[in-house]
Amino acid sequence: LPLRFDWRDRHVVTQVRNQQACGGCWAFSVVGAVESVCAIKGEPLEDLSVQQVIDCSYNNYGCSGGSTLNALNWLNKTQVKLVRDSEYPFKAQSGLCHYFSDSHSGFSIKGFSAYDFSDQEDQMAKALLTFGPLVVVVDAVSWQDYLGGVIQHHCSSGEANHAVLITGFDRTGSTPYWIVRNSWGSSWGVDGYAHVKMGGNICGIADSVSAVFV
C-alpha cells in the first residue's frame, strides 16, 4: 500500500456538493462513486444526476432517507442510465421520476460489491486502490461540530446514519486517516471533506463499504 493515495490527485473526483435540507446523502455518495469510476475508465469527469436517484429509486424514500445498498441494487437491476446533472438538476426535494429513452446518453453500472471490512481496513485500502472511491455509511452524529483534524474519538461504530465517499487515505503522519468526501458543501470540515482515523473502525467507517463497477 502506498503511504498516501487520493483519487482527487488523478482528477477523477467531482467537486463537493451540498445536499441542503434533503436527506439524500445515500444518493450523493452512490452517484459520486459512479462519476469517479466512469472517469477512471476514461469517461469525462462530470456531475451526474443525484435528483434522478432520489426521485426514481423506488426502494428508497427520496429526501426522507434511503440506503446505499438499495440504491445500488436499483441501479444494477434496472440498468438505469444516470444522466448529467445539467439534464436533471438537484432541487433538494423529492419529485416525480423523469424517464429518458434508451437512446439517451448516460452511465449505467455493471455491478457492485458490498462488504463489512471491519478489522480489515488494510484490505479496504486495497479495494479503494483497485476499484476506485468507496461508498461507506458512518455514524456521523459528532460530525455536526467537526471543523478539521483527524476524527479519532467521540465517534462510535454505533448506528450508521450517514453515507459518504472515501476518496483516499494518508498514512504519512502519526495518525493515519481516511479522506472522506461529504455532501454538506465545501465550507464544512476540510473543504467539504472529513479525515477519519484508519484502523479501529472509527465512526463505523468499515462496516458498510460498497464499490461500483462500470
Partner: protein, 76 residues
Amino acid sequence: NRPRSGDRQAAAFRESLNRHRYLNSLFPSENSTAVYGINQFSYLFPEEFKAIYLRSKPSRFPRYPAEVQTSLSNVS
C-alpha cells in the same frame, strides 16, 4: 420545516458551544486530532441535525471473505 424561533436557535447555539468545549477538552495534547466548533449546523439541536442530515438507513453487509483478499492482493 416550521420556522424556528430565535430563542430556540439561541438555545441550540449555547448547547453547541458547551458541546464544543467538552469535545475539545478531552484530548487537547493529541496533535492532529479533530477540532470541533461553530459551523453551519451550530444553530441546530443534535436531534434536529440528525433528523435533517443523517437519513441513511443502515444495512447488514456480509463480512469481507478471506479468499477475496488473495485475488485483491494479486491485482497488479
